[in-house]
């Protein structure tokens, strides 16, 4: 692998996954994510990894969960309708606490929508797409370099917190070429799931350490026998109807993410110290937004920029803090207003929140966002 490359975002995700130790890919072709599968098909055999093109998106999700249970760091990638199809088995991975990484290269919807056009319409689906409560970790890269770096982070988070981790990329980012520098990763920068340190007979698969609410995970074939199920289960991994055991499991599922919220949440800011207007944007839209903010600054408008790198957990505390001194927050999104709801929740009415929607299949031009900055200034 070269140290510096000129890659598309999809390529950067595939190579980032390999650098993170991913050794299994299961998936199904879908635009605009297919390059990730194609690269994994080519690269995985070279490192004794496994690639399999499954019969559909559902089976792709099932296969990566299976491979992770057998001990391999596993990736699947999809888009639009494929993300919908994956929700069922994604839920099993949340319930059974199986680490996997799922990339959704967002395109326009609903339904088949706009397969070759950018959108950001899957933000709420990423949070709530599968039925039932669960904590969500979802990253949103905004450059090809970050596609690489975030994929490593996503694998680390999946292994650490024992659950699926999502990456919401988008069509523009997936197919845009930029320079990527691959920092050398030493083994200490790669996280591996906690393994049991007891003999197989003493292994209680979902008994969590109170210090982190995270149970150890054995792999099938490593001498430990355990039961994986999508049913609500007790510490032994067995289905339960006992109210105490049910509540214990559900509360821990939420808590294991909530308690590490500050470790997980990432964001980027620019010009926020004296800002009166804040543009909050993520993914490719963050690029147009930062351009617009720079333009505003050059014209003497006190504009600032905030980019959630983790969409979930959302950096609500950080946004709330900024909102105390900011007059107006503009939220440009390639949807009819999804993340803006979360911003409104975070700011508690402390500043005015303006939604800027674009759903014509194109990316915002900086001018379009600058105009709104000018209007509210």
């Amino acid at each position: 692998m070269p140290e510096v490359a000129f890659w598309q975002g999809n390529e950067a995700i595939a190579y980032g996954a390999l650098a993170a130790g991913c050794r299994f890919f299961g998936g199904y072709p879908i635009t605009p994510s297919s390059e990730i599968a194609e690269i994994m098909a080519e690269e995985l055999p070279k490192v004794n990894g496994r690639f399999i093109q499954m019969e559909d998106e559902i089976a792709g999700m099932a296969a990566v969960i299976g491979a992770s249970i057998a001990g391999l760091k596993s990736l699947t990638a999809t888009s639009g309708p494929g993300f919908s199809l994956k929700q069922e088995n994604l839920g099993l991975a949340y319930m059974a606490e199986i680490p996997v990484v799922l990339v959704d290269v967002m395109r326009g919807g609903p339904s088949t929508g706009l397969p070759t056009k950018i959108a950001q319409q899957d933000v709420m689906q990423a949070r709530w797409g599968t039925h039932g409560d669960h904590g969500t970790i979802c990253y949103s890269p905004a450059s090809v370099q970050e596609c690489y770096d975030i994929t490593v982070k996503a694998f680390n988070a999946a292994e650490r917190y024992r659950q699926p981790v999502l990456i919401l990329s988008d069509e523009v980012l997936g197919h845009m070429r930029e320079k990527v520098v691959m920092k050398k990763l030493d083994p200490t920068q790669l996280v591996n799931r906690k393994r049991p340190n007891v003999v197989p007979e003493k292994f209680i698969p979902y008994l969590a350490d109170p210090k982190d609410d995270l149970p150890c995970m054995a792999s099938f074939g490593d001498g430990y026998r355990w039961h994986v199920t999508g049913l609500t289960h007790n510490d032994w991994g067995f289905p339960t109807n006992n109210p105490e055991e049910i509540e214990k499991k559900m509360k821990r599922l939420m808590r294991k993410i909530d308690r590490f919220r500050d470790d997980i949440v990432e964001y980027e800011t620019a010009f926020t110290d004296d800002a009166e207007i804040l543009v909050l944007a993520y993914g490719s839209v963050a690029r147009s937004s930062l351009s617009a903010v720079n333009e505003a600054r050059s014209r003497g408008i006190k504009a600032g920029f905030f980019r959630p790198v983790t969409l979930w957990p959302f950096p609500d505390k950080e946004v709330e803090k900024l909102a105390r001194k900011i007059k107006t927050i503009i939220v440009p999104e390639l949807n009819c207003g999804q993340m803006v709801l979360e911003v409104e929740r975070a700011v508690h009415g402390r500043s005015k929140v303006v939604a800027q929607s674009l759903v014509d299949g194109e990316l915002f031009k900086p001018d379009q966002i600058f105009k709104v900055i000018e209007e509210v200034a």
Partner: protein
């Protein structure tokens, strides 16, 4: 009574099981466990995957590496496990709904790939756990809660489906022949490739009572009276075979197996 070796493969602390008294699933589980014991399989190197429904609970009762997945999707999970660790023995236990309805696509593609997994299909012609709705193997004319005037859609022949899709071992028997079930399962596990063993079983609780097979023994008698060995069926005319179910081994062939093919691909790529 099961032998001690069989009992050691059971998570008896989770008994009583949820199956109705007289359910055929226990007979199939016993056949499977005898096959595993005879083949000297290790519990920590044996994976039992299952989908959803009464059949799926079998995974929970077997003390091995067990994975109780989503409805119809178990073969997807099993495929991931097997490809990640081909040295593991992987058994997929499923019901007729899992196999031929919601998981039909996964089933035919597992056959096509010929991945070394043994699929045991417990065909009771009904969705038992949800209360007796018609499945794709409910015979025409049968009564189910969703076919209150009798089923009109033709039923699937799971073995023909498996044969057509490319499985390397395909056999059918019934719970009236537990010894034969054990032998077929054993051959399936030994076969390097995708094996399908369809075991006809019954749900007297939801199917039998609506179709004149109220008690477990009515069903065993039904299977005894209406199954015909393949060797015999070959000499029977079409007329005589109406209403009969042919049992026996339909496919037993050696064709390239998926994980072996993938491992040799790795060798080829790595030079």
């Amino acid at each position: 009574m099961p032998g001690q070796e069989v009992v050691s493969w059971l998570r008896t602390r989770f008994f009583p099981h949820i199956w109705c008294p007289g359910c055929g699933h226990g007979i199939i589980m016993h056949s499977l466990l005898r096959a595993l014991v005879t083949l000297d399989k290790k519990q920590s190197e044996t994976v039992i995957a299952s989908g959803i429904g009464c059949s799926s609970r079998m995974a929970g009762y077997i003390d091995a590496c067990t994975v109780h997945t989503t409805h119809g999707r178990s073969l997807g999970f099993a495929t991931g496990i097997k490809l990640a660790k081909p040295e593991l023995t992987v058994i997929d236990v499923m019901g007729d709904g899992d196999c031929s309805a919601i998981g039909g696509n996964h089933f035919i593609h597992a056959c096509r790939r010929n991945i070394d997994i043994t699929a045991i299909v417990m065909n009771n012609n009904i969705y038992g756990m949800t209360g007796g709705q018609a499945s794709p193997t409910t015979p025409v004319g049968s009564m189910a809660t969703t076919t209150p005037y009798g089923a009109i859609d033709p039923s699937f022949d799971i073995c023909k489906l498996a044969e057509g899709a490319g499985a390397s071992y395909v056999a059918r028997t019934s719970i009236a022949n537990p010894k034969q079930a054990e032998q077929y399962i054993m051959k399936g596990i030994q076969k390097k490739g995708f094996s399908v063993i369809e075991v006809l079983t019954h749900c007297h609780t939801t199917f039998g009572r609506r179709n004149n097979r109220k008690t477990p023994i009515d069903n065993v008698n039904f299977f005894k009276a209406n199954t015909v060995p393949l060797s015999k069926a070959k000499d029977m005319c079409e007329e005589d075979l109406v209403g009969k179910i042919v049992i026996g081994e339909f496919v037993d062939k050696d064709v390239p197996e998926y994980t072996a093919q993938y491992l040799s691909l790795i060798e080829r790529v790595r030079g």
